[in-house]
Amino acid sequence: MDANAVYQKPTVEEIAQILPAKFSAVKVVKTEERRVYATLPRENLFEVCTYIHDNLTFEHCSTVIGVDYIDHLATVYHLTNYYNGVMIELAVDIPADDMHVDSVTPIWEGANWHERETWELFGIVFDNHPKLERLLTPETYEFFPFRKSYKLRGSE
């Protein structure tokens, strides 16, 4: 397996082999039919994503999702290959005291609004994002409403 070659239609097995071989920090958690689940530390995110976009031909970034696990937060990326429908799920843990992660908007323009949304709802700062402003909530909003610390009226 040549890690530097360009694959237009990488299979699930190929991805599961290439990704950890190229980046030792990437751990493939499990694979399913047309699905690869992987985790990686946030330092490697941008280069891994660049590699996935350029060499594995994952042209489409479906979502950027923020999750609040109370002790830490996480961002989850769903990436799609348009040639064979394989999806990669990348989960990145973010410590609760330093909520910074690289933005993937320079790679996939489609992640732009997802990152803005995740920032305004969770407070996760995406470095190098072109325009990190509030999108759904008003400009004057002071909270990050989707954090677990922000209680709904009926929840307690």
Partner: protein
Amino acid sequence: MTDSIVPIKEIEENMEKMDTDKMWVIMGPQHPFSHGLWTLKVQLDGEIVTDAEPIVGYLHRGWEKETENREYPKIIPMADRLCYAASMTYTHLYCMTVEKALGIDIPEKAKYIRIVADEVCRIQSHLMWLAAVGTDLGNLTVFLWCMREREYFLDLNVKLCGARMTTNYPRIGGVRNDTTDLFDRDILRTVDRFEKALWDIIYLIDDSSIFVSRMKGISILTREQVANVGLTGPAMRGCGVDFDIRRDDPYDNYDKVDFEVPVLTAGDSYSRYMIRVEEMFQSCDIIRQAVQKVKALGKNAPYRIKTPSKVPAGTTFTRLEDPRGESLMYLVSDGTDRPWRLKVRSPIFVNVSSAKLQSVGTRIADVPAVLAQIDMCLGETDR
């Protein structure tokens, strides 16, 4: 030209000195072109759009946060409200996600009924889109003809589950009820009738050079641009991306029905229009096949299974081909009967973010016609 009173050169110099400026026009939130509450700020140089910025969020109601407060079955009616034009697809997607998290397989009959319901919703949604295209291009006849056709499909919804728009029909583990008597007869009649009526509308639009010239060659997008900005659905397939989740990443029983995915490479507004029209015909085909399959399974085949109320801890995601594009749900469950986090990826949310790419370079008169091709639905955009 030499005997002109003012020398041409002088006019040109004056033109350069003239203090011209670009103008920001704020279209929305109450504007006939914004089918819902959103704003498009466009910067105009004369009539040509030089910059555009969409503003959404007027309808943000914290849908995802609210689901964290509810038991799993109680989220189904909420999922209906995400998109009023095709409510069944989001309910379907939600049920699929929870079923996958539970690790259960639902009965065959339920899968086919879901396909039928999905495609009926797709046709409804596309008809609503076609109606909007008609008004955006200044013609009311298309609007009313499409709305008339849409009524027949809403009647099918009534026949299937008793409600017109917010159907609350799919359930975790199947569907709420079996198809009623004569449902297959009604749906086949409706589909046959609809195919003829759709040709009327197509003749009205495609045979008119004004309609065609308003769409042809406008707002041309390349395959790379479309893939990069995350435009999905029929708009993407009109720009040359040959990808349909129903075919390339099949869910439920879409791999067992036979249909074609229309793809055009022209990338202009007109090809995006053609894709959706063709998709309506394909949906009719799918409905015919799925109804046959439902009928073949017999009257007493199970359509719903019992499911546990608690979902084991873990993360799951599924995706589905919405009428408007790729919709995805990501579920983080913690072993209780309520989700820890439920995220919806709505296709329009991303499609709208590409409004600048689509509208820059066109004229202001084209802005509604171009942005009609992404089929706005604010319920799912703002969530």
